[in-house]
Subunit: 455 residues, 2 copies
Amino acid sequence: MTMTATDDLVRFVTNLSFDELPSAVVETTQNLMLDWLGSGIAGRHLHPTPCFGRVVEGIAPGEGACDILTGASRRSSFAASMINAAAGNIVEQNDLHNASILHPGAVVFPVVLALAQERGLSGRDTIVAAVAGYEAGIRVGECLGASHYRCWHTTATVGTLAAAMAAGRAMRLDHRSMLHALGSAGTQASGLWAFIHDDADSRPLHAAKAASNGLLAAALAQQGVTGASDILLGRQGMGEAMSDCIDADRLVDGLGRRWGVLETSLKYHASCRHTHPGADAFVSLCKDERLAMEDIVGVSVGVHRGALDVLNPSVAPETISEAKFSMGCVLGLLAHYGSAGVEAFTLDTIRNPRVRDFAKRVTMAFDPEVDAAYPRKWVGKVVVTTRDRRTIERRLDHPKGDPQNPLSEEERLAKFRCLADAGGLREVEAVDRLIDWTQTLSQRDRVGSLMQWLA
Amino acid sequence: MTMTATDDLVRFVTNLSFDELPSAVVETTQNLMLDWLGSGIAGRHLHPTPCFGRVVEGIAPGEGACDILTGASRRSSFAASMINAAAGNIVEQNDLHNASILHPGAVVFPVVLALAQERGLSGRDTIVAAVAGYEAGIRVGECLGASHYRCWHTTATVGTLAAAMAAGRAMRLDHRSMLHALGSAGTQASGLWAFIHDDADSRPLHAAKAASNGLLAAALAQQGVTGASDILLGRQGMGEAMSDCIDADRLVDGLGRRWGVLETSLKYHASCRHTHPGADAFVSLCKDERLAMEDIVGVSVGVHRGALDVLNPSVAPETISEAKFSMGCVLGLLAHYGSAGVEAFTLDTIRNPRVRDFAKRVTMAFDPEVDAAYPRKWVGKVVVTTRDRRTIERRLDHPKGDPQNPLSEEERLAKFRCLADAGGLREVEAVDRLIDWTQTLSQRDRVGSLMQWLA
């Protein structure tokens, strides 16, 4: 087997040890887990999570050792990772790594939590498995680049490989088996953006399959099933089939020095991340200029190509998921309610005539400068036209939640409480225990079950 | 929802009824099921099937109503379809539809058998579900074309959609749900040829995942999970992402008049189908010219592009799976043993010095005429150079097993017995009962279990 960048990346995550993780990486990983847990709880009773629950009941009928976030039962790691990943991808507030255009937490944590519970892992081993998933997935996403994202939902495709590396580490696979797991994960990688034009339910399906297929890839490798030795850069591999701008160097960029975990953004708004740069530039401009909704006659948002590919052109969305992908609606909610958090998206709010009326004043335009910086930087640019005929521009380099413009601890915890509330988890004690559980994860001998606080 | 070719195809398979199936279609479907069953039994104990068995035990614990071909247990339809599809893809003797470059039986029958058992289907409904899978899958494969096959293993990708349509029919989904199932299947479609360069185990994984993901897509649709309305022709769908030569008209070509089932080839040799045209032209030439192995100093096989992409350049394969993708080895086995059936591939035969020595005399060359006809016709062309310095050419339009050059009933049954024997099923009575079961399927009120004959 020749040494390739793929092999180097796999070797790095195979050999990663807790002791070499900077304390900021450990702490941030715990925070990212809490963030994911919030999204999972928020989506646990929402369509289509219960559909996934019923299907999994049929395909994998036995009990297991892994929590389902509804708190209703414990299942196999495969079943739990599938249902919990679906649940975590509904309210659109998952963490995002800019340069890889990947929601790593959405696919890594469902697998890591399930396997940690099934195998009785310590908190330290659980954190290492999660970091392995993040570092590998982020570099694979950067390697495949923005052209991959054109048709492919990176969280679905690359997410499968991230989940496999996290699962493989949780299973303590050796280097050779990790490489097989990566091969078997890559040849299962799928997930197209086609669903977005129909507001179909494939986003949670993508996360559910990335998580469970990644876990499957690692389990197969553990049992001796081999995979392609270089599924990324090899002939007829992912690079050749799924990207026009593959960059092999990104696979090994700064391994052990640069931590993707620390570059991961937390989403402040509960909408597609492509709406955030424009939304934050808009909010900042309105605040500084003291503009109210009725002062504004037009907003033009300068966006990168990926936003045009994925965002919904609709200014009058009929469903909450459509609304989360509508720049007009998101700006309308912010203008009218001052928030685009999870609680701001209801059928009443998105159909509010004032929000709809405002949404009609919002347009998106391709902006070459924004596009050139993307995906490394998600630049926000807006031009607002006021009733008194002024034209005001605003440019913002880092949307809120980027590491350069982070949520405060207070905002992070408030976000979690808000998400938990949205998922019907209202007992303060239980919410506090979940927060405490993630914040002290590295000190736990066993991850254990969360069921007593989830029900 | 606008009417598209995709929609028309889905409507056709949704409304398909047993009474409109020509009797030849019914009979051929039964024969194809027997053919698949043979491949499944032959591979049931071979690596990596037992690995899949152990993994499925972990991820989908719990008993079910569906036979595992090992005869060891009964599992959920998801688990059974996964294990049985893996088993059916190891000895490389699955049926193939030329124009779609798809092994339909490999992905359709594992799903149909499992769901028929789980839901107590009649033989007639079982046959309709299988035909739905074949007709849909074959047309999707033709639509995506040969450029899709360049990097993508069509049986893996398109197979997922074929399995979903078969599963959806077995579940009696309505038209709308069938369309959702197709969308959820297409966004799970994956499977790259990268593994072939490492002789890795992804071929059975591809079939296992196509079958079980297709079943999952239908189960999700039944529970109300929606999918893209046109995953094939729509924006950011399979056509845009995975083909350079998409042909929408093929999706609806001859629906109800032209039956893909009747166009499906049975493989005579237990090697990659891309070796068959050359192999049969070679055999035919040697027979007519009365050439023995030692009379031949060189064989040049004219091949299409797909063969060069997928076949192994090795003339000294070390594993059986490598040998099945080596033109040199296949011709060597035919020259030395007079057979390339399942029994002809052992570690001893493929390493036989005479076979290896002959394999070194075999080369492949791209042939524009062969390539132009492909994939509709798989033309075989060989040029043999003899010891006495003659150059003899042979061209063959239809490799053995094509509908235009079919296996006789005797050959079909002999193939099944041979495959059953390879899988350790040697009791004549049990083999006869399995043959009888498939040949009388359309008359059965319930498909029932095969366990008593499989053990």
